[in-house]
């Protein structure tokens, strides 16, 4: 194995390739999580991965670690239970926006209040992808989905405000800004207390194609054009990515 691919040690390689659609952003986040763990020399024993339900909920099963695939929306209380029962463990959550903000929204609110030392990576693709492409809590205003055929009328959830309201670590990045996203995850893992990384990710199959994107490359390029890195602010604008501690 070449040196660059050592992050693969954190994955169950007999389960690869993963079953996500071509062009999906979940695999990118999976790789970033592995790279961050490698960077910090995380031991495979002593680290636990927790996920909820949805496309991204399947991530936990790919890691060569003990992992828990919880009921829909319940990744956070399970992760908190694990951390509090054994404080020596590194507990990471990878889940989607529908899981964490929709059905599990109340848990996020209270988990950030309790500030348990866990790291949450949210693959935020603004859609319920696994169920066919329904509007999610992060779907942009006037965006078209299966359940908002004339455009979304509700404002997307302000996760930044929600998480930073209790002074937790919040970072936002995208699947285009790989180095930046890796930095966000690495810093989140080092943070004591609850850390939340929202990674804007693309779903071409059930979202992008309905919004006029030809392929996921175009979606990635739209992230490049939309999001600017902001390193010196306590609040990120909606078109900025960065870290708020």
């Amino acid at each position: 194995m070449t040196k660059e691919l050592t992050y693969l040690n954190y994955l169950k390689q007999d389960r690869l390739p993963h079953q996500w659609c071509p062009g999906c952003g979940n695999g990118i986040v999976l790789k970033l999580a592995c790279q961050a763990m490698e960077k910090l020399n995380f031991l495979k024993t002593g680290t636990v991965m927790v996920s909820g339900i949805g496309c991204s909920g399947r991530s936990a099963g790919f890691f060569d670690l003990d992992s828990v695939h919880t009921a829909h929306g319940r990744a956070l209380p399970v992760a908190e239970g694990i951390k509090l029962a054994n404080e020596k463990l590194n507990v990471m959550v990878i889940s989607g926006d529908g899981d964490l903000f929709g059905i599990g929204g109340n848990h996020l609110l209270h988990a950030s209040r309790r500030n348990t030392d866990i790291t949450i990576i949210c693959i935020s693709n603004a859609i319920y992808g696994m169920t066919g492409g329904q509007c999610s809590p992060t779907t942009e205003l006037s965006s078209r989905t299966l359940t908002t055929p004339r455009g979304n009328v509700d404002t997307p959830i302000n996760v930044q405000a929600l998480v930073t309201a209790h002074n937790c670590f919040y970072a936002r990045s995208t699947t285009y800004h790989l180095n930046h996203a890796l930095k966000c995850i690495t810093e989140a893992l080092q943070h004591k207390g609850l850390s939340f990384v929202e990674i804007k990710s693309q779903c071409i199959t059930n979202d992008g194609r309905r919004r006029g994107f030809k392929n996921s490359y175009e979606m990635l390029m739209s992230y490049k054009d939309t999001y600017k890195i902001n390193n010196n602010s306590s609040v990120l604008e909606h078109d900025e990515i960065g870290i708020i501690k």
Binding site: T70, A71, G81, L84, A85
Partner: protein, 326 residues
């Protein structure tokens, strides 16, 4: 107290009448980590996480909270997580009568979550028995790797009685804690730690495995009470709070009281043969009676006690009608 002695390390709960007293009591125990969560769904999931991380875990609630927990209880059966869930029943449905006892969650214990699962459920009727069966519940949970339900009602759980603080045997944890291997605990149909969601054979095998496991463990806990009465040809079947009132009728009737209410104790089949009439009494509109009828393959009389009030005179009137019917 029994829970602590049985090895409880972790408790998560949400305040609810009439189960909050358990939360209040455990907060003061030095050996138990106690977490007050935002709701019952979070509570049951927190103990799932804690249990997988190696802690013997428990939550306590009442009917409305128990309803909220159902999805995750089924999930825990699928993931094979040892848990103890205490349900102190109150009058329902809805908000009902929070301070009065009922036995309306019997079916919910067995069929509350979607899909097929085979829970072990205990329903003691005194403080001493609650003490003993808390041990049994923890042991059965460890042995079966499944959520075990300990039922009570606001009547039994508010009693003050003298008990002997015996040390019952405690089953140790066999499941290795999280962070020691590369297992994947999932609620999806799975085989060898990997999800398999399109092989019917794998699912059939998994359900068969869950069923056999639960049956095997439950055989160790064939708990019931039978008060024989040679002068009566009527057998009363009752459990929980109600059974304590029904004890007063033992001069005139035989009484059978299951303590492990699910899976049903088979012994009732042979006991029931000795009696012409079977009368099931419970504090609901008819739940356990159906299970009994199904097991015995015969017609069974039923006396419902609703609204949280147990009136022996009322019960007598109904029993007299059954007596004269013959």
């Amino acid at each position: 107290m029994a829970a602590v002695k049985a090895g409880l390390n972790f408790f998560a709960g949400y305040p609810i009448t009439p189960a909050s007293e358990i939360l209040h009591e455990l907060v003061n125990q030095k050996t138990v980590k106690v977490l007050q969560m935002e709701d019952e769904i979070a509570s049951v999931n927190a103990i799932i996480g804690a249990s997988l991380a190696g802690a013997k875990s428990m939550t306590a609630t009442s009917g409305p909270g128990f309803s909220l927990m159902q999805e995750s209880i089924g999930h825990a059966h699928m993931m094979e997580v040892p848990l103890v869930i205490v349900n102190v029943q109150r009058v329902g449905p809805g908000t009902g009568m929070p301070t009065f006892p009922a036995q309306g969650d019997i079916m919910q214990c067995k069929y509350g979550s979607h899909g097929d699962y085979f829970p072990i459920v205990f329903y003691p009727n005194s403080v001493a028995e609650l003490y003993e069966f808390t041990f049994n519940a923890f042991n059965a949970a460890e042995e079966s790797l499944s959520p075990v339900i300990l039922l009570s009602d606001s009547y039994v759980s508010h009693l003050y009685e003298t008990i002997e603080e015996a040390d019952y045997p405690v089953s140790n944890r066999t499941l290795a804690p999280l962070g020691t291997s590369n297992r994947h605990f999932t609620g999806l149909t799975h085989k060898d730690s990997s999800p398999v969601t399109s092989d019917h054979g794998v699912h059939k095998k998994l359900i068969k495995h869950l069923e056999t496991k639960q049956k095997k463990v439950s055989r160790k806990y064939n708990n019931y009470e039978y008060i024989e009465n040679k002068y009566s040809d009527i057998l009363l079947i009752t459990y929980g709070a109600l059974s304590r009132a029904v004890y007063d009728l033992k001069e005139d009737f035989a009484i059978y009281r299951p303590v492990r209410i699910f899976p049903l104790v088979d012994k009732i089949k042979t006991i029931a043969k000795k009696y012409k009439e079977i009368v099931v009494m419970e504090m609901n509109a008819g739940q356990y009676v159906n299970e009994i009828e199904r097991l015995l393959h015969r017609e069974v009389n039923f006396i419902p006690i609703l609204g949280g009030k147990i009136d022996l005179n009322e019960i007598w009137t109904k029993l007299r009608r059954i007596k004269t019917k013959k």
